[in-house]
Symmetry: C2
Subunit: 302 residues, 2 copies
Amino acid sequence: MKPVSTDHVTAFRHFNRYFTRRIGALDDHYLGQDRPLGEARLLFEIGDGVSLRELRSRLGLDAGYLSRMARALEAQGMVRVGVPPHDSRLRIVELTPAGRLEVQEQNRRADALVSGLLDGLTPGQRAELTGALATARRLLRLAGIAVEVVDGASADARACLDAYAADIDTRFPEGFDKSDLVGPEEVTGEAGAFLVAYEEGRPVGCGALRRLETGTGEIRHVWVHPDARRLGLARRLLDGLERAARERALDVVRLDTHRTLTEAQAMYRACGYTEIPAYVDHVYAHHWFEKRLGPLPEPGPE
Amino acid sequence: MKPVSTDHVTAFRHFNRYFTRRIGALDDHYLGQDRPLGEARLLFEIGDGVSLRELRSRLGLDAGYLSRMARALEAQGMVRVGVPPHDSRLRIVELTPAGRLEVQEQNRRADALVSGLLDGLTPGQRAELTGALATARRLLRLAGIAVEVVDGASADARACLDAYAADIDTRFPEGFDKSDLVGPEEVTGEAGAFLVAYEEGRPVGCGALRRLETGTGEIRHVWVHPDARRLGLARRLLDGLERAARERALDVVRLDTHRTLTEAQAMYRACGYTEIPAYVDHVYAHHWFEKRLGPLPEPGPE
DNA sequence: ATGTCTATTTGACTTTAGTCAAAGAATCTC
DNA sequence: GAGATTCTTTGACTAAAGTCAAATAGACAT
């Protein structure tokens, strides 16, 4: 990785300071108008039936603290606390109509506040701001996603492959048969690699590399969760797989794609892959690509 | 003002939620690692000798609360509290070497954190993020600036005119004589108007409208504080002055500019002003502009 | 069935953050 | 020089936020 220039760091910190001071502070104020901030935040996070366990990990709260707050909200008639049938250690909290009303009111206030803020801008400036914020969010999300090499047999790897299979099963007209997925032994150690992308602890993408008989690498199952698309994550996964190939002394990687996956084909081309004749016969393959990996993993400035 | 589309509002709130959760929370954590957040923030705000009064207004704290925190920091050897010679009711706090060290350490940590965050992006993506954040900040600042009609004799108006005079005195090769400024009576009531732009309570720009003998309006002294330039504030001031002209049944406005102020000339052209022959003889004038004001102040989408 | 683990609850705390009012000291206004 | 005003300090509070540990109850593995 290139070192981060101090200019970018200070620019980021300036924005951060400005934003939290101007907007964040404002935010806390409208939320905590009638009740303690902790309770208000909690109420806000309870959509339709969340377990305390989930809330605890999401908000990073102490178990005792959370328990008491939930009970306090229950006493105020804002939430109902119930026991889920499958595991009676857990507690499910859900909003009562009164609670729902209060959340709506919070939302209304927050909307009014933002609306007042944007009011001073022309429609063109509003659109520009929205665009800039969308770009910033996209890049911040991407920056927060870590791509890791995991065991191909791990729960996260299998979960990703299952999601991948279900996903393309709906996209391929002929459906998709899970027996086509790589086995754990093909993507472990010297044989290959399995990458999983994590966003805030949740797996949101994967990719596999395996060694072909010909001594070249094959990339398979590059997949990104629908929530994490259009961030540039597939490229990151691809980069990681190419790195893994280099580490295993494979200086050529190949892959095939289905004709329906046109975005994927465009991405492979953009990443330096060139279309080649069929190198293997494969049920779901209609296009074949290859990339010769340079010796130095030093990309120029983008 | 056009109503704010709900799309912009929800987009803004999404960003806000994401950003405060991911970045803001993180922020509080590194700051408050060794000491309470309040104290850490305070320490951070004390640059080189600030009065408690200043801190109180800047951070919006209770006088008693602040006094105690300052004394606590003093007891810890982080700051020195002194009495300024000119007013012994006030207290000046400044960092001791130990305090300075701690602030540096805070900064180092924050930088490292941001650096780690940006580390996952390519140089191109980092630049894109920095650009998006700069755009967002610029527009947020602009949105937070309120342009108000004030009395031409008010302290804020005079302060702006003084700053304006000092500013152009350095830019005009021949200097600038303050007797050329409009008098309060020229820009009050039906005669004219004086606008001041406020950012978080501080005046950061101004503009004057006065009535010419010919029954047209004249715009003068459009000025923006150096800290608030490149936000698009001059256009806002100009808009406000044109509105004021329309309200006074002046459907033509004129203005003159000095040859050195080329950005200003470009802006007038971009705002629909056309260059005309000299309508008046004036020491500092080299270019004259005019704009015919349409009956409806309804700008198309930008 | 026994032990281990997980999720919540409860009790007993502490710290932080903040408010309000009164008092003291200095400055400013007339 | 009297009175109003400004800034800080101090005392006496309160509420919110959070911590820690022990207890309880259910789930899960062997």
